[in-house]
Point group: none
Chain length 226, copies 4
Amino acid sequence: MSEKSRHIPATVKNPGVLAQRRAELVDVATQLFLRNGFHKTSIREIARACSFNVASLYMYVTSKEDILFLVAQRIVDEKAASLGDIFSEGDDPVAAYILAFQRYCRIIDKYRQGVKLLYREMDVLPSDRQTTILESEIAVHELFREIIDHGIQDGRFRPVNSGLAAQNTVFLAHMWSLKHWSLKREMTFEEFLEAQTAFLMSTLLPKDLATGPNTRLNKIASTKRA
Amino acid sequence: MSEKSRHIPATVKNPGVLAQRRAELVDVATQLFLRNGFHKTSIREIARACSFNVASLYMYVTSKEDILFLVAQRIVDEKAASLGDIFSEGDDPVAAYILAFQRYCRIIDKYRQGVKLLYREMDVLPSDRQTTILESEIAVHELFREIIDHGIQDGRFRPVNSGLAAQNTVFLAHMWSLKHWSLKREMTFEEFLEAQTAFLMSTLLPKDLATGPNTRLNKIASTKRA
Amino acid sequence: MSEKSRHIPATVKNPGVLAQRRAELVDVATQLFLRNGFHKTSIREIARACSFNVASLYMYVTSKEDILFLVAQRIVDEKAASLGDIFSEGDDPVAAYILAFQRYCRIIDKYRQGVKLLYREMDVLPSDRQTTILESEIAVHELFREIIDHGIQDGRFRPVNSGLAAQNTVFLAHMWSLKHWSLKREMTFEEFLEAQTAFLMSTLLPKDLATGPNTRLNKIASTKRA
Amino acid sequence: MSEKSRHIPATVKNPGVLAQRRAELVDVATQLFLRNGFHKTSIREIARACSFNVASLYMYVTSKEDILFLVAQRIVDEKAASLGDIFSEGDDPVAAYILAFQRYCRIIDKYRQGVKLLYREMDVLPSDRQTTILESEIAVHELFREIIDHGIQDGRFRPVNSGLAAQNTVFLAHMWSLKHWSLKREMTFEEFLEAQTAFLMSTLLPKDLATGPNTRLNKIASTKRA
DNA sequence: AATGAATGAGAGTTCATTCAT
DNA sequence: AATGAATGAACTCTCATTCAT
């Protein structure tokens, strides 16, 4: 979890103040980055939008790049927090998979713009920082892979390449963010969710189940939904 | 095809010269944008890298943004050209789909970085320019959708939501570009191609075919490959 | 000695504390100024290097300039202290001169970098502060001048312009500091000392002594050396 | 002569324009550096003082440091040009030495502030640039050393350490610049010149000449003066 | 058609210093 | 007496763009 590379030095000492004002800073920066992108957002703009003096801002971060890292971190962390324990519950891998995917999709929907931001501006960060962020993404892959592997062992899933299947799962959820401009014209989020679930299940379930009506599957998920 | 919004004003009158030198400009700019991103590439850098004087460059283009548009256009156009007539041939929708997908994937592999660039920098363009670029993307969706619809009508494909299926098809090809940092550690392009083909086919083919060995499918594709 | 202009106001009342912590401050600042120069050393750097908080530092000093003044003063004072009573002892002006010069040279060697710092950064100080520092230098001139005048009166020295001779004496000692980059490649400090002593003596002693072997002169000095 | 390290890259191509405007820039910068020092002079100040836009200024230099280097170079070059051929003429090393010293002193007087600037700000430059500047200084040492060696071989000078003697010669000329604040209160430049000449001659000439009246020596110099 | 030179605006960052506690 | 946090002003440098020829 490379705790070290998550650290960003600050001049401010009081951890409470640091956390609180950084939160303020990151909030504002996130808004601006989402709206105008990283490069078109100036430090002065950010400072003006919070109640920070430009120099004060630099008590909380070392560089503009740091702000992007904090923003990325927050998105990733909130995503992780939202994911919570959806992977731990239950023994049925099919239900677990569906539940997890749908929950993950809802998180993507919630952080739709944040996800897009990550895809867009990640390369600005130095590679160790990128790695830190991407580790979180990989963690999600792994969780899905575990479920899929479970399912394969149980004979509930077909013996697919679980690594790619997991990545496809995650990527097809991200699609709601990256292709939103196109998808929103054709379907609602709920429709996307249902169709995409069916789509994925048809790649995992053995033939006889895969072709059945999806309603049952979705019902499982809906029942367990928070 | 909104021919109008494709137009970029220039001081240079001679269309031959315009086309030729723009091509040079776009070539160089593409390289630099791919390597360093749009914002970290300066006009001076571009001018230095081709045989242009900074001021001359502005005879072929109105702003730096225009260059990005031209670059985006070129990527999109080359992709389109590469696609060529892969959709027109044959009557077998299954073979057509597989062939088209695999060919599209190869194009994505070829323009891997260009595709990434598009995802990353598209938002810099004003929305009408974005639309122009995205129309080309939509065109690809449509082509896939047509094949799928064909297949559904023929009974060769399941009655899926062909719109989403088409977008998934395209998006899962793009995955090779966007997730290359992760995928390349686990598989070669050919492996990706094969697995992803199987993945998609299992969502389209009726149960009895979907679970069959994929070798046959790939053989079809290989046969028709250029 | 313009005691007034030596004073630097402070918020701290307790004179003991003031002196002690100022000493610490000046110590650290001297190191940093020597290493990086006055302008490239920031207040924060100084505060970080001692046990001071930036704001606390300002209780002992009114401005960054003050610190430079204190540093300059300390160098000058330590030089003065090292000089001590070398001028008072003995009646032989020749021996006294040689002893004083060589001792002064050793002090310059000891404070080599400090001397350079003074030459370099003195102009940053307001002119009254400069004067305060330079008075100390003038005092040294005067001491040398007295010896020389003595020698002239005794007939041991030629009737030179004692003012300039004194300044030359001091300046040629400073040379070890200012031209160290060049001199060190050609001679050791002891060689410099001996040669420079001979050089100066040849300008002061009447013809018959001046051309004699210098060993005798140096022996005198060596004998009385501390 | 490390011609390479003398070069400073520029965006401006026309060498005439480059030279002319750089001269303007260096002129102004010299004034400001002399008056306020390098660090207290801002780029904007310099730009304002010539008719340069800040960005234009950067077409002629790469950094503020470059300007200091150019200023230093100009001082050093003008000094060198002024020195001209004073060393080549004549066969009499005594006359040559006196002439050269006095001429050098006049140059120091002319560039009094420039010389001080060099002593003060040289350390700001990176060491290769420093070396470039100091080479010029060393060249002067060497010229004096040659004359002195000549004189020693001819038996006109005493067998002193010619290296140190040469450096002393140069350094005592610089004294007029570095100690001007003090010297000017006690003597005019001409008085300084005469006294310092006598001072140096007494270290070089054998006893019988050294103690003679200096008027003759000065007369030699005066005759040959430009 | 081409280009060398110019420029206003603004970028990110750091500074010496002071306030509030 | 001490300090954590704050700040206005200034810094060097770069940019996309345009003028004059």
